[in-house]
Amino acid sequence: MIQPADYLDRPFLSVTDLTVAFPTQDGLVRAVDGVSLSLEKGKTLAIVGESGSGKSVTAQAIMGLINRKAAKITGEIWIGGQELIAMPEPDVQALRGDEMAMIFQDPMSSLHPFYRIGDQIVEAIKAHRGIGTKLARRETLEMLRHVGIPAVERRIDAYPHQLSGGMRQRVMIAMALINSPDLLIADEPTTALDVTVQAQIMELIQSLQAEFGTTVILITHDLGIVADVADDVAVMYGGRIVELGPTRVIYDNPEMPYTLGLLSSIPRMDRDPDKRLDPIRGNPPSPIKLPKGCVFQPRCNYFERVPGGRCFTDRPELLESEPEHSVRCHLPHEERQQIANDVLHALTGGPTPL
């Protein structure tokens, strides 16, 4: 058991053995199964995965957004010395919007359509701090200007539908940051946006992070936007972390066949477009019916190399492959490195000038 005094040398955010299970007609569905991760203050962690990988549920569990009556949540989530899973619901609510905040993929469904954007942000300030409307409004103006909303004096009284998608995303970022949270979780913040706007929003998040020292968890399916933003990357599949490491290692020396598959699936600007894409075959697994052994085995190209058919029978553990780099795979370390080398070389053919 972890003693309360341990938090002094604990990283800012630490999640241990987080499991979120929903009871359904088909039995208990583990959307997240034994996720452990930690993050130092001011750093950025990217959680990458396809639909059904459990990345969003992990984020919602950290934010305390999962209805405790509807799901069974076990494990520990420590943020700055406080454990959240055992914490009473009202206390979590007090933290949310204050010490931790979240931005979502679709700003339209997260902003209230009937209220002016300024009033919504003012309310977020007043809910957590005992300051007057006038002061809160002045702070709101400043924050809206800060996130790059033009003509703020006019826009502060706009309704969400009067703004474009990029502007709405900025409003949501302003609202998330208004109480200077220590932790910001961004769930697919740019998926619904155009490339040019996506680049604006990612730059905005980065510069605000540098300014306020915010710790950021970025949830995404896009390995592209993660590359120059994240310090660490966690790749999730079937409710589990399958590979975890510093960003550079994940791109240069990925060892999990799933990560390799993701990298070779994306059409990229730095590869020969006349070469066929090399996608992962099949479909992501349904959390209702996960394979018995390795969750990725049915789509893996390399399970035959593991002796004794262990991929069919044993769930691999997430084990340290090198310092700071963990992989969930039965293949031996050297063989994984060899495979990665071959695949990555075939992918981009070594360095190409851009």
């Binding site: 396809e50 639909s51 200007r145 800060h146 996130v147 790059g148 033009p150 003509a151 703020v152 474009s164 998608g165 990029g166 502007m167 155009d194 490339v195 040019t196 706007v197 996506q198 680049a199 604006q200 730059e203 905005l204 980065q206 510069s207 605000l208 540098a210 300014e211 399916h221 896009d222 390995l223 592209g224 936007i225 590359a227 120059d228 960003t247 550079r248 791109y251 240069d252 598959g261 993701l262 990298l263 070779s264 699936s265 994306i266 059409p267 990229r268 600007m269 730095d270 477009p273 066929r276 894409l277 090399d278 996608p279 992962i280 075959r281 479909n283 992501p284 789509r299 981009t348 851009l354």
Partner: protein, 375 residues
């Protein structure tokens, strides 16, 4: 085959020839008796051509009019003006009944595979619909043809009697593709066919579309906002902005030697999934703000309000789409080569223009967006 005008027979695009296509939507005033107070020029005079077995990528941001253009080309939306010829046949004046016959040659694949399939019809029913609508009786019967199609697009033929809700997004898109290729059309308009899919599935579908093209020689008009996806599948690319084509050329030219400032901006915004390469990119162009409203587009060049090359001339004169080398057309007064681009370009907001100021292009070395001057 009858060519309606003499000019079309001179250029050799055998599958699709779109000239000066315009699609305007009326803007109505509020009140009991709505009056038309303006127009949204969703598509404002575009020319496109497509040869057999070729893929033309049509890229642009949301609001650029690319989807409206795609729908208009198949007459799902009536054009305001312009000509659309499919295999030499002018289709803008055809009656709905006559259009049914055209759809045998030209089909569409939609973005959202959840809404494009009737949930009450079985997969077999959905894929056999084209045969029934067109009154085509394939050799060996419709059912066999459908089973063959299912197999060809990677669906299990045993699922003939299942309903769309039993399939994942990628499989539904395969159903849509099977339906589109059922009658071996000459042209398929693909409207963002992979943008709603997971990355691993996206690659499978792109490969499938490529294989089908090589097999049947079908031409694709491929509408997408993802430049990396378009690069993977297209032979030629047209870049759209606010209803107009800004630049069009072969894939090689668009991606390695573009000249339009807008194309440069789009390309520099595409992330590369490799931290080292991403950090060593030569140019980063940051466009602030969004597309101007198509109800009231900027005078002159529509892109000038977000353009780092904009000068006085751009506000006065509409740049024509001119051919600067064979197959490479560009609508810009001040084209620029990639090697002449500065390391970082910041373009000030549209609002500056909205409020009566000249477009200001700020060129600086390392300004974060948060520290730029507020308007």
């Amino acid at each position: 085959m009858t060519a309606t005008t003499s000019s079309t027979s001179t250029n050799g695009s055998d599958i699709l020839d779109v000239s000066d296509l315009r699609t305007y939507f009326p803007v109505k005033s509020r009140g009991i008796i709505p009056r038309t107070v303006g127009q949204v020029k969703a598509v404002d005079g575009i020319d496109l051509t497509l040869d057999a077995g070729e893929t033309l990528g049509l890229v642009g941001e949301s609001g650029s009019g690319k989807t409206t253009a795609a729908r208009t080309i198949l007459m799902l939306v009536r054009p305001t003006d312009g000509k659309i010829q499919i295999e030499g046949q002018e289709i803008t004046h055809l009656s709905p009944k006559e259009l049914v016959r055209v759809r045998r040659k030209a089909q569409m694949i939609f973005q959202d595979p959840y809404n494009a399939l009737n949930p009450r019809h079985t997969v077999g029913g959905i894929i056999s619909a084209p045969f029934k609508v067109q009154g085509v009786e394939p050799k060996g019967g419709v059912r066999n043809a459908v089973l063959e199609l299912m197999e060809r697009v990677g669906l299990n033929p045993e699922h003939y009697n299942r309903y769309p809700n039993e399939f994942s997004g990628g499989q539904r898109q395969r159903i849509g593709i099977a339906r589109a290729i059922a009658l071996r059309p000459k042209l398929i308009v693909c409207d963002e066919p992979v943008s709603a899919l997971d990355v691993s599935i996206q690659a499978q579908i792109l490969n499938l579309l490529g294989d089908l093209q090589r097999e049947f020689g079908v031409a694709y008009l491929f509408v997408a906002h993802d430049l990396a996806v378009v690069r993977q599948i297209s032979h030629r690319v047209a870049v759209m902005y606010l209803g107009k084509i800004m630049e069009t050329a072969s894939r090689e030219v668009i991606y390695s030697a573009p000249l339009h400032p807008y194309t440069h901006s789009l390309l520099s915004a595409v992330p590369i999934p490799d931290p080292k390469r991403q950090q060593h990119r030569r140019t980063r162009i940051v466009l602030h703000g969004d597309l101007p409203s198509p109800i009231d587009p900027p005078s002159g060049c529509v892109f000038r309000t977000r353009c780092f090359q904009a000068q006085e001339k751009c506000a006065v004169e509409v740049p024509p789409l001119r051919e600067i080398s064979p197959g490479h057309k560009i609508a810009c007064h001040f084209p620029i080569e990639a090697k002449d681009l500065p390391a970082r370009v910041e373009v000030e907001d549209v609002v500056a223009v909205e409020e009566g100021q000249a477009p200001a292009a700020v060129t600086s070395s390392n300004d974060g967006p948060a520290s730029r001057p507020s308007s």
